[in-house]
């Protein structure tokens, strides 16, 4: 099982949209995929049209009250969601009196190692906090989502430093990759930002830049991934290319070093 954490301290850069559609693209490529909504805003849960109600959610899993299997929601055969609720933010407060709260997610995912090939974690828009620490610690790869817009480069460099420092402090060798999103090549500004990102991050960037798309926004709003409704859309092809790259860089046959550490 390979765990991919999508993170950035900046909000509105496309983390949730990327998480949903990357997971759907991996599923379309035949991989067993799990999406974990680690954002207390529960936008990935909403974006997948899932209503939690009184069913167990990620909060109960992180608390250790229920196993992760009982909180899973199967969206389609081969793709599942570990949903969040608005009360997930309580875990941040409870973590102050818990023992090693930043390892809770890793422990919870351990029994699922043989059930899924890829786990895509949608992080809250912050670099600090125990939820993001859980995701970064459990990850085999941190994917920094960077919007090709104003302040993107500065914010990306800062976020990269924060996550690098976080991983270094834990002695982890987890790689950090960068993904450009919301790219509109018709504007010179977006092209300049992409060139700047390439100059700054180089090989750490994925070849695929996710282009801005109205269909993507509509898909998230409608609660169904775009690949399921318009598999030949441009955005679907972008995410298919990204999924192909992810599969090349992260082979699911590799044993996650995280679980060995745990």
């Amino acid at each position: 099982m390979q765990i991919l954490t999508l993170a950035n301290q900046k909000g509105g850069c496309g983390k949730t949209t990327t998480a949903i559609h990357l997971a759907a693209a991996l599923h379309a490529a035949g991989e067993r995929t799990l999406i974990i909504d680690l954002d207390p805003q529960a936008h990935a849960t909403l974006g997948l049209g899932c209503f939690v109600g009184r069913s167990p959610s990620l909060l109960e899993v992180l608390r250790g009250e229920v196993p992760a299997q009982s909180a899973l929601r199967q969206l389609r055969p081969g793709i599942s969601l570990l949903p969040a609720t608005l009360s997930l933010g309580e875990f941040e407060e409870e973590a102050t009196v818990a023992l090693e709260p930043e390892r809770a997610l890793g422990h919870a995912l351990r029994p699922l190692a043989s059930s899924f090939d890829y786990v895509v974690i949608d992080c809250p828009p912050r670099a600090d906090g125990v939820l993001t620490a859980n995701a970064v610690r459990a990850a085999n790869q941190v994917l920094l989502i960077v919007e090709t817009g104003a302040f993107a480069l500065q914010g990306a460099v800062r976020a990269f430093e924060i996550f690098s420092g976080m991983l270094e402090s834990e002695g982890s060798s987890t790689p950090i990759q960068v993904l450009a999103t919301m790219f509109d090549r018709r504007t010179r500004f977006a092209r300049d930002v992409l060139i700047g990102m390439h100059a700054r991050f180089g090989e750490r960037m994925y070849d695929t830049a996710i282009r801005s798309s109205v269909k993507l926004r509509e898909a998230v709003a409608s609660g169904v991934p775009l690949q399921w409704t318009s598999p030949r859309a441009r955005a679907s092809s972008d995410f298919a290319a990204l999924a192909s790259e992810v599969r090349n860089t992260m082979s699911p046959s590799q044993i996650a070093s995280t679980f060995l550490e745990l």
Partner: protein, 304 residues
């Protein structure tokens, strides 16, 4: 992301173009030149114009990234912008799968023309990040005398250029960062106010933006609200000069409207404590005027 993928993202159909180029055996940016023109045209659904442009952009990008082994490409200007602009028609020729509508962003169609201002902003960002030394950036960009107008000058020049391109006429020359306040003919900026501000020691719009309003009230004699409005106008000109093109009539603040209503009704605008204190004073005066009745004193006085 290698430079070939960057080129495909910038000027092709992203991963689809990249995959097709790799199928042709092209794995580097420099190898794009060696690809047969017919094969390149077939890559873009037989569109020779787009293929030629893609090849030209490959040369430009390789030079910009420092990967060019040959001399500078002839179509590249000093700032890295194309002398032959990429029009939106060129981009509309790109074989996108869907969602490519040039009319979606009409403002962007104008911005596809060479626009050194924005490339300067991009260069400044690159310099900020350490990608390009700031000294080199400034050296390359110091082409016009207006660049000496301070840090706001680059942005202002870019806005002015955009203005002229969008509207087809030149903006007033006095809207620069270093213009004197006396010459700044901004809507709502009267000559009398400008005179007072100049007398208070302000010389430029930047001075006005950076001035402390409370200090300026004392030195210029202008009211605080007026100064705040003038500072807002100056900041608007320095930050986004285009918004000064059609200044909307400023709505009167609610407080001013209420004040004018009170004046029309003849109500005196006095602080509440003065209204409360006045009757109290009158009462005191009444009590003072009401003298105590005279007490007939006996032989031991009034306390007997």
């Amino acid at each position: 992301m290698d430079s070939l993928a960057l080129l495909c993202n910038l000027h092709g159909d992203g991963p689809a173009t990249l995959a097709r180029l790799r199928e042709l055996g092209c794995f580097e940016l420099a190898a794009v030149r060696s690809v047969n023109r017919d094969a390149l045209s077939a890559l873009f659904q037989g569109n020779e114009k787009f293929a030629a442009r893609f090849e030209r952009e490959a040369r430009v990008l390789s030079e910009r990234l420092g990967e060019s082994e040959e001399g500078p490409a002839p179509s590249v200007s000093k700032g890295g912008a194309l002398t032959q602009p990429c029009t939106v028609e060129d981009y509309s020729l790109a074989p996108e799968m869907d969602e490519f509508a040039p009319s979606v962003e009409p403002a962007a169609t104008k911005m596809l023309t060479p626009f050194p201002g924005l490339s300067r902003v991009g260069a400044a960002s690159a310099a900020l990040l350490g990608v390009v030394p700031l000294a080199n950036t400034n050296h390359q960009e110091s082409e016009s005398p207006q660049d000496s107008a301070g840090p706001h000058g680059v942005v202002i020049n870019a806005v002015l250029e955009l203005w002229s391109r969008l509207d087809g006429h030149q903006p007033p020359a006095q809207f620069t960062a270093t213009c004197k306040l006396r010459e700044a003919q901004i809507e709502g900026f009267s000559s009398e106010a400008a005179e007072k501000l100049c007398a208070a020691g302000l010389q430029t719009l930047e001075d006005l933006v950076e001035a402390e309003l409370l200090d300026l009230v004392g030195s210029s004699g202008l009211p605080y609200t007026k100064l705040a409005h003038l500072q807002f106008l100056a900041r608007k000109v320095l930050g986004a000069g285009h918004s000064m093109k059609t200044p909307a009539p400023a709505a009167r603040p609610e407080s001013q409207r209420q004040a004018s209503l009170r004046q029309e009704k003849g109500l005196e605008l006095t602080p509440f404590w003065s209204r409360v204190a006045k009757p109290a004073v009158k009462e005191v005066v009444k009590e003072e005027t009401r003298l105590p009745d005279p007490v007939e004193e006996g032989p031991a006085g009034p306390f007997a």
